[in-house]
């Protein structure tokens, strides 16, 4: 699972490049999905994507959270309220918030 922390402008640039590549080689363009963090939950808790899709985690909660793969293969840094973190999916992953381990989510590669 490859993860990158990029700005909103960066995310748009990545999306633009991906769309340009699609028009050149005919492959399916990666899609951007949003997982909202609110009321101590990942919403949706389970997300099905295609390999290479981008997932943006947006923290709309009142507290700081993080997103950590169950086996700690990858993790975001601490995500304060009203900030986001972007990752490109490469494999199915169970994840949780290491600060609040009751909070769990799953990304499924279709």
């Amino acid at each position: 699972m490859r993860s990158v922390a990029i700005s909103a402008k960066g995310a748009l640039l990545v999306l633009g490049i991906a769309l340009a590549q699609m028009s050149c080689n005919g492959t399916q363009a990666p899609t951007t999905h949003v997982v909202e963090i609110a009321r101590m939950q990942f919403i949706p808790a389970e997300l099905t994507v295609h390999k290479g899709d981008t997932v943006v985690f947006v923290n709309h909660d009142m507290l700081t959270h993080d997103i950590t793969e169950e086996g700690k293969l990858w993790t975001s840094s601490k995500l304060p309220p009203d900030s986001s973190w972007t990752m490109v999916t490469t494999q199915t992953a169970n994840y949780y918030c290491s600060l609040h381990p009751v909070m769990k989510g799953k990304i499924i590669i279709q």
């Binding site: 101590m40 009142m62 507290l63 700081t64 309220p81 290491s98 600060l99 609040h100 381990p101 009751v102």
Partner: protein, 178 residues
């Protein structure tokens, strides 16, 4: 000594619930919004104080991580409460509930400080489970219904999921010690 923490805590929780229930039952003496704000700030500060003891005394990584989360989260809640009361022009007002909470917390802190090693970790986590249960009950059934200001009521409502997660987290730890 083994029963001292739970006895002390039970007393504190009983007093918390009794005082708030009594105030509610009497109707005329229900908590005002400035008093609700004070109780909310004090309840959060108490858990920050417990976390400070845990960070000082525990060697257990899971317990320390939990304590750090409690300190971070409850500080954030106090920050939001402070911003709200400033916006509303309300000054949190000490009252019988907040004073009793603080006084009882001093007793619990004294007991926690007297313990060490696994005994401390277990006592701290047991305390966190019981404390969060009591606070959730009080916020849900007493403080929210008694609050008149919509924004203060909303803040208390927003805090509930965090309190419930904290309880779940504490119970996960508790299983490791029992």
């Amino acid at each position: 000594m083994k029963k001292t923490v739970s006895a002390c805590l039970s007393c504190a929780i009983f007093c918390f619930l009794f005082l708030t229930t009594d105030a509610s039952a009497q109707g005329k003496s229900k908590l005002s919004d400035p008093e609700v704000a004070s109780v909310a700030v004090v309840a959060n500060q108490i858990d920050i104080n417990y976390a400070a003891i845990a960070k000082q005394k525990s060697k257990n990584a899971d317990v320390i991580n939990f304590a750090e989360t409690m300190a971070r989260d409850h500080k954030a809640v106090i920050g939001q409460a402070a911003a709200l009361v400033k916006k509303l022009g309300v000054t949190p007002k000490d009252n019988a509930v907040s004073k009793k909470l603080m006084a009882d917390a001093e007793k619990t802190k004294k007991v926690l400080r007297s313990k060490s090693g696994n005994a401390f970790d277990k006592a701290y986590v047991d305390n966190e489970v019981a404390y969060h249960k009591a606070v959730i009950d009080a916020v849900q059934n007493l403080l929210i219904p008694e609050t008149e200001n919509g924004e203060l009521k909303q803040l208390l409502t927003n805090v509930l999921p965090a309190l419930k997660e904290h309880l779940g987290h504490a119970e996960m730890l508790q299983k490791k010690f029992n």
